[in-house]
């Protein structure tokens, strides 16, 4: 089994390297065709031909695009993602100042959302068709259909503006005590949970129900197992594959896709860093962020696959 996992991991690493290369070339090409370059973005309305030329030279934009790409790639292979052409600070430093924030927010959200989603999903599957199932399922659809910015704005209006229970901005609040930290993360986490719990819960419910319809469950029931044992010991291990994949998808979204939450709560994470990079046409920054998100996604999906192999004996002997 270990050998199999090792082989899978190696295969995935090789594939990941190829995907990353392709993604980096694509992202570079797309940023290159965006209207305007970094010098124009920086000078905006105040651009004159003279300052534009000087700034382009300073930023290294007078070098042909393929050469710039090659240099960036060579730097990345040496472990140096280069300097931002706009701020002249190393991209690694910029990421280092934002990534911990994003990881912290993601971690707290995961701790809340994943157990909640699994619990609700399994519960709904066990008692499918019951009042509980119907309430949970329709609530999930309702919540997932409401856009994030609406949930976030409503939460701010109610809890910060009207009730004054929670701070409207999440950054710069002291982390002295667990209570203060809880207060500042309550609304962003609530907003993210609204979107994520629903998706994961629906996937869990569907996967478990799928298994519960299988003939072997009938056998289990005939043997006289309790419903709890039927689901947890027999159905769930077979449903781990799709569930793990759903969880992995949502987690990768948490790292780079939470721009709305970052904007509304003024939380400095990597998503807004990348958006800044795009509006400023800061190629090294955009490229490196894209690489990071892509790598994280591939890693999570691989982990999900390994999870399903470990949980499902049939996959091990194929």
């Amino acid at each position: 089994m270990n050998l199999l996992i090792l082989r899978l991991a190696l295969q995935r690493v090789a594939l990941a390297a190829v995907s990353l290369l392709v993604v980096s070339a694509l992202v570079f090409a797309i940023t290159a065709v965006l209207p305007g370059d970094a010098a124009q973005a920086q000078l905006g309305q105040d651009a004159t031909p003279e300052t534009l030329a000087a700034l382009r030279h300073q930023m290294g934009l007078d070098v042909p695009a393929p050469v710039r790409y090659g240099r960036w790639l060579a730097g990345l292979l040496r472990g140096q993602p280069g300097e931002s052409i706009v701020t002249h600070t190393p991209v690694a430093d910029m990421l280092a100042s934002r990534l911990p924030n994003s990881l912290l927010l993601a971690a707290i959200t995961v701790v809340v959302a994943v157990p909640l989603a699994l619990l609700l999903g399994i519960g709904a599957a066990m008692y499918r068709g019951s009042l509980f199932d119907r309430i949970v399922s329709s609530a999930a659809v309702a919540v997932v259909s409401v856009p994030e910015f609406l949930v976030a704005t409503l939460a701010v209006l109610v809890f910060a503006v009207e009730l004054h229970w929670l701070p409207a901005l999440s950054y710069g609040v002291s982390f002295d005590s667990p209570l203060k930290m809880l207060r500042s993360f309550a609304m962003p986490v609530l907003t993210l949970c609204c979107v994520m719990v629903a998706q994961m819960m629906r996937m869990t419910r569907a996967a478990v129900i799928d298994q519960l319809k299988a003939p072997y469950i009938e056998m289990v029931l005939l043997k006289g197992a309790t419903p709890m044992r039927t689901v947890l010991a027999h159905a769930l291990p077979n449903a781990v594959g799709p569930i793990a994949n759903a969880v992995a998808m949502t987690l990768s979204y948490l790292l780079g896709g939470v721009i709305i939450v970052e904007t509304i709560f003024n939380y400095p994470g990597v998503a807004s860093l990348m958006v800044d990079g795009v509006t400023q046409r800061d190629m090294p920054l955009v490229q490196t962020c894209a690489m990071l998100f892509c790598a994280a996604y591939l890693l999570l999906v691989t982990l999900a696959d390994i999870c399903s192999i470990v949980a499902n004996p049939r996959l091990r002997y194929r």
């Binding site: 965006l34 209207p35 305007g36 010098a39 124009q40 973005a41 920086q42 000078l43 905006g44 309305q45 105040d46 651009a47 004159t48 031909p49 003279e50 300052t51 030329a53 000087a54 700034l55 030279h57 300073q58 931002s84 706009v86 701020t87 910029m94 100042s97 704005t153 701010v156 209006l157 910060a160 503006v161 004054h164 701070p167 409207a168 901005l169 950054y171 710069g172 904007t263 509304i264 709560f265 003024n266 400095p268 807004s272 860093l273 800044d276 990079g277 509006t279 400023q280 800061d282 920054l285």
Partner: protein, 539 residues
């Protein structure tokens, strides 16, 4: 700001600034009356005003306290390099840590700052005497070398300065004594002290290459600066203005989303929020403990019809379009009343050179129809480029589209994204919108946007007579003559340029009622972005 509003209605913005300043300095009721009488005021009016004088006088600034302020932008490009500053977030941070040689007051008249006096004989060679005993935050005394460095670096294209166009008229800056600097211009300009009072010309230390430390001579010292996130500045105990600043600490963040900014203000997380939308005004005013601070300035969004291509080559088309602008409707429904009507010329009423005698061009469908017919333009649709990048331009374009339909003109409004608008569409479209921020002087504005050879001559309007007048007015030291020259130029732009300027817009900021000391400086909102050294907290 209610009292100020009343006051301005009574005596006009210029006079009110002068008087309120005097009151803040501690003028007594008798002094104020004397000032008013000197200004030709009636005694009854003056009597009513003296009550106001007492309440202003009673509000003595308090020391201490910490505030949180939000600007409208936050990006990794946030900078403390004066040459690269580009928005209110940068300017507001800049005025916390730096000073200019001069500073601009409520009527945009230059006042001494780091220069304790400035003098010229011919408006071409200027002598600035530097204030003694001014120290940078790291303890180094201010010397002429710092001034030479801070001004001359804008001329080097490699600096990438946003003020290069303005700095090009400066021939040399030389130390001419231990505390004296001489600036020589390539041609006379009576407004040099105004230009040197703007943000880009703030004084940094000689030889600075890393601006992230924010070492300046300003009222606050930089404690933390994370571009795109926040900055914290603490009181500079050794500040050269006695008694200033009032606050202990200012935290400045940028929140791009207007709704989030207003919510954060109303939940008590912020004490001051820059750039609020007119649509949020009622909400802020309706919440106890919060107020709106309005600054009428020279900012405008304008309809540009290029005279060298497209339909604008026909002067009758331009006249038709100018008569199609329903200014009153735009003021009411787009700016929600937070603007004043403009008259297709760029000098706004807060400016001392505004020509009030120019008859207002009306919204007149018949005239528009007449000129449209005369222009011989068929019924082909005319594309009009607008974008959220030019404030309110999309809404203005839609209002015009409605009016145009009534005279059988089909305006095809093309809405472009804000991203990349200035480099791709502004100045390139035959008919489109631009936006011009308040400029410190009439001369700067006219030179940058209307001189025949100006890079940003939006409508490519070329007039030799105008250029001659502009250069003559620059060197003119007789105030009355200068005013007449500016009036003539305003008439020429109104009649000939390919520009429709519907409104001068006001900047609106929201703040907690505890925050005192705000008074408008027409460079923009947040007291012309220099609120930091003027405001205090009334606990």
């Amino acid at each position: 700001m209610n009292e100020r509003q009343k006051f301005e209605d009574l005596v006009g913005p210029h006079e009110s600034t002068r008087l309120l300043e005097a009151m803040k300095r501690g003028a007594s009721r008798r002094d104020v009356l004397a000032l008013l009488m000197a200004g030709g005021m009636q005694a009854t009016l003056a009597g009513g005003l003296s009550g106001l004088a007492r309440s202003v006088h009673a509000a003595t600034p308090k020391r201490g306290g910490r505030i949180r302020v939000a600007g409208a932008t936050a990006a990794i490009t946030d900078t403390l390099d004066p040459a690269k500053m580009s928005n209110q977030t940068d300017y507001s941070r800049g005025t916390m840590v730096y000073n200019g040689l001069t500073s601009l007051d409520g009527s945009l008249t230059p006042q001494p700052a780091l220069a304790e006096s400035f003098d010229t004989k011919d408006a071409k060679t200027w002598v600035f005497k530097l204030r003694k005993d001014v120290k940078f935050h790291d303890g180094k005394p201010l010397t002429p070398a710092d001034v030479v460095f801070s001004v001359m670096r804008h001329k080097d294209p490699a600096t990438g300065s946003k003020a290069k166009a303005l700095a090009d008229q400066i021939d040399s800056v030389k130390a001419s004594g231990t505390n004296e600097v001489t600036v020589t211009l390539s041609a006379a300009n009576a407004d040099l002290p105004v230009i040197l009072g703007t943000f880009h010309f703030m004084i940094v230390k000689d030889g600075t290459t890393d601006f992230n430390t924010g070492i300046g001579t300003g009222p606050y010292k930089l404690k933390e600066f994370k571009p795109g996130v926040r900055s914290i500045a603490v009181r500079n105990e050794a500040y050269w203005k006695p008694g200033r600043p009032y606050l202990d600490e200012i935290e400045f963040v940028g929140i791009g989303d207007e709704g989030a900014r207003v919510n954060a203000l109303l939940s008590g997380d912020l004490d001051l929020a820059g750039s609020v939308n007119p649509r949020s005004v009622d909400r802020i005013k309706g919440t106890p403990g919060f107020e709106v601070f309005s600054t009428q300035s020279g900012q405008y969004s304008d309809l540009i019809m290029r005279k060298d291509m497209g339909p604008g080559t026909n002067p009758d088309f331009i006249l038709a379009m100018k008569h199609l602008i329903d200014r009153e409707q735009i003021r009411k429904s787009v700016a929600l009343g937070h603007a004043v009507l403009a008259n297709d010329q760029p000098i706004d009423p807060t400016n001392r050179f505004h020509f009030a005698g120019l008859p207002q061009r009306p919204f007149d469908l018949d005239k528009a129809k007449f000129h449209l017919k005369k222009s011989g333009l068929g019924d082909a649709p005319v594309p009009v480029v607008a974008s959220p990048a030019a404030l309110y331009s999309v809404e203005m374009a839609l209002v015009m589209q409605q009016s145009a339909q009534k005279i059988g003109l089909n305006l095809d409004v093309k809405r472009m994204p804000a991203d990349g608008y200035w480099s791709n569409h502004w100045l390139n479209s035959a008919v489109g919108f631009g936006n011009v921020n308040p400029r410190p002087s009439a001369d700067t504005l006219l030179t940058l946007f209307f001189k025949s050879d100006a890079a940003w001559n939006e409508s490519r309007w070329k007039s030799e007579k105008f250029d001659q007048l502009l250069i003559a007015s620059r060197a003119e030291t007789d105030a009355a003559k200068r005013k007449q020259q500016y009036a003539d130029m305003q008439v020429m732009i109104h009649e000939q340029a390919g520009l429709g300027i519907p409104l001068f817009l006001a900047s609106l900021d929201g703040h907690s009622s505890k925050l005192k000391g705000l008074s408008p400086i027409p460079l923009g909102g947040l007291m012309g972005y220099s609120f930091a050294e003027h405001v205090w907290l009334d606990a």
